[in-house]
């Protein structure tokens, strides 16, 4: 067990997979000598060389299409989109090509690729570099979506994503890049589609993923002081989704608070809430399922405004206390 950063864990996962499998390679903007906009790939050019760490022109559609085509013909590309917001420029290649190639060709091809992209606010980069975009991607059958919250999960889930035979969108939480956490040694692969109950509890379920996990755990700690036992669940993988874990936690506690950074309207919280209300868990609910999410505004620049639009630990705590009444 080593204490390493989230960024290091991602780099380690890629490096280990590249040593294991010659078909794995990286492409993206400024991932070579620069080391990636957030430094994730720093040092990889030196180890693997320019053939496998491919710096590209600023051409998101071509980068994504190149990954799709390489994947269709036997390679396992990992591509980096510098900010998840820029996926818009590659949307056709991701949504109409990567996600649909297998189905529309009757299963003749597979597209084993990973699209890595950092998401989230908190860096003062304003409206076009700070969004949490998972809801756009989650509505597309054929894609998988992962959003890890710890270094250990980032490493284990990225390894699983690289080995997966489908296109996986791996949403890195940019404010977590420098956070350290324990990561087990060795080749630990965490299967996609399994939620993690970070903290078991009996009175209320707090269901979240990504950067908000840290705040949910802090809130649970405070709730414990009030004698409220909160179960905190990290979904980790959003598609495939561990519906069984969600439903059984809701049945156990009867009170559910869903927390995410992305905008509320049309956000993934609605899907989680519907998963509970569509299931037998509905009959066990003691209170309405509650969502706490980012405000429905573009991300503002000013640091107070920016901090004010995502759920805070205090807001999570207040909502949980209210629900647990």
């Amino acid at each position: 067990m080593n204490e390493i950063t989230y960024a290091q864990a991602i780099k380690d996962a890629m490096s280990e997979e590249m040593r294991r499998d010659p078909k794995v390679f990286l492409l993206g903007e400024d991932i070579g000598a620069y080391g990636g906009a957030f430094g994730v790939t720093r040092g990889m050019l030196e180890e693997f060389g320019p053939d496998r760490i491919r710096d590209t022109p600023i051409s998101e559609a071509a980068i994504t299409g190149a990954a799709v085509g390489a994947a269709m013909t036997g390679m396992r590309p990992i591509m980096e989109i510098m900010f998840s917001d820029f996926i818009t420029i590659a949307m056709d290649q991701l949504v109409n090509q990567a996600a649909k190639a297998r189905y529309q060709f009757g299963g003749q091809v597979s597209v084993p690729m990973v699209l890595r992209a950092p998401e989230g606010s908190g860096t003062g980069a304003a409206a076009q570099h700070s969004q949490s975009i998972e809801a756009w991607i989650l509505n597309v059958p054929g894609l998988k979506v992962v959003a890890p919250s710890t270094p250990a999960d980032a490493k284990g889930l990225l390894k699983a994503s690289i080995r997966d035979d489908n296109p996986v969108v791996f949403l890195e939480q940019k404010l977590l890049y420098r956070k350290k956490g324990p990561v087990p040694d060795g080749d630990v692969v965490i299967p996609l589609g399994k939620a993690d109950v970070n903290r078991p509890g009996t009175d209320i379920s707090i269901i979240s993923y990504g950067r908000m996990m840290e705040r949910c755990l802090q809130a649970a700690e405070e709730l414990a002081k009030d004698g409220i036992s909160a179960e905190v669940m990290d979904l980790r993988s959003l598609r495939p989704l561990d519906t069984e874990a969600i439903v059984s936690s809701a049945i156990k506690t009867g009170r559910v608070l869903i927390v995410h950074e992305a905008c509320r309207f049309g956000g993934f919280g609605g899907e989680i809430a519907a998963t509970i209300c569509d299931s037998e868990a509905f009959f066990y609910l003691d209170a309405p399922v509650r969502r706490l999410a980012g405000k429905d505004v573009p991300i503002p620049y000013n640091k107070y405004l920016e901090a004010g639009i995502v759920p805070t630990t205090e807001a999570i705590l207040a909502a949980a206390r209210d629900l647990a009444k």
């Binding site: 559609a61 299409g65 799709v68 085509g69 390489a70 013909t73 529309q104 009757g106 091809v109 489908n166």
Partner: protein, 318 residues
């Protein structure tokens, strides 16, 4: 250059098959037997056939939404192609793609595309995979004049050029992007000029002359396999409307008639006859054989079962 007789015969057979496929597909439409839409390549047969004849069996193609001729010329089984057109379970894509998404990986056809310009970056990726796996192979990406106005065209050619990938960008200029005439959609008359922006060679060929297309494709392939990408522009004409919904209000009958006189099949036949390489009876024999092959394909497709609804969730994920 002397072309072996078998090669010439194969090229004419592919063109005749394509024409017969398209005419039969249109007849099936008028009989109400087709659920979707289709984009016919009548008048453009020399482009798909000439290019596919000029490359090697191991080479890969990415086709367009108007890609029946490209697919047939790459050696696709027409029974399974017709079955896909009718949406049957025996279709090459199990009835899930339709004729806009025909693919036959075993024949080196990695798929037609319903998004204009959507296949171009993917073809670049296949060329990248080719280089990284050290495979002796070239990728041919078909697209149209309309696609050359898409961003993906420019991004992809630039990327392929920077990486010197073994790819031929085959632009089938059929004079129209749906109703938009090519002269109105760009301010140049020769699309191959666009190659110079990316530091690669551009070639322009009479796309109704199958022998000229064949020779150009050989040259382009040779260049691509050694020195990187080539833009090969094939000037031709779309005789039929864009799709089944097209009333033709944007062009004159005279213009269409003028191009009908440049029919690539008639032109090839007249060359073959003039040079004494084939007799009229031999040509008629190939035409009859093509008609029979397509008739068989229709019988196969019509007698094939509809896909079961149980299969509808298959192949979303690997």
């Amino acid at each position: 250059m002397t072309i072996p007789r078998e090669k010439l015969e194969d090229m004419y057979r592919k063109m005749a098959l394509t024409r017969a496929f398209e005419e039969t597909a249109m007849r099936l439409f008028s009989l109400g037997k087709v659920h979707g839409t289709a984009h016919f390549c009548i008048g453009e047969e020399a482009t798909g056939t000439g290019v596919c004849a000029g490359i090697q069996p191991q080479d890969l193609i990415y086709a367009t939404h108007r890609g029946h001729g490209q697919s047939i010329s790459k050696g696709m089984n027409v029974d399974r192609m017709m079955a896909e057109f009718l949406g049957k379970a025996t279709g090459v894509c199990k009835g899930k793609g339709g004729c806009m998404h025909i693919a036959d990986v075993s024949a080196g056809n990695l798929g037609a595309n319903g998004i204009v310009g959507g296949g171009i970056p993917i073809a670049v990726g296949a060329a990248l995979g080719t280089v990284m796996q050290k495979i002796d192979r070239v990728v041919v990406c078909f697209f149209g004049d309309g696609a050359s106005n898409e961003g993906t065209f420019h991004e992809s050619i630039n990327l392929a050029s920077v990486w010197k990938l073994p790819i031929v960008f085959a632009c089938v200029n059929n004079c129209y992007g749906m109703s938009m005439k090519v002269t109105a959609s760009m301010n140049i008359t020769d699309i191959a000029l666009r190659a110079s922006s990316y530091g690669i060679p551009g070639m322009t060929v009479d796309g109704n002359d199958v022998l000229a297309v064949y020779a150009a494709a050989q040259e382009a392939r040779e260049h691509a396999s050694r020195n990187g990408p080539v833009l090969l522009v094939l000037n031709t004409y779309r005789i039929m409307g864009h799709s089944k919904s097209d009333s033709g209000a944007y062009r004159t009958k005279e213009e269409v008639e003028e191009w009908k006189r440049k029919d690539p099949l008639k032109r090839f036949v007249s060359t073959l006859l003039q040079q004494g390489l084939f007799t009229e009876a031999e040509i008629a024999g190939i035409d009859a054989e093509a008609a029979a092959v397509i008739e068989h394909a229709v019988a196969y497709a019509e007698s094939s079962p509809e896909p079961s609804l149980d299969t509808v969730e298959q192949d979303v994920y690997a």
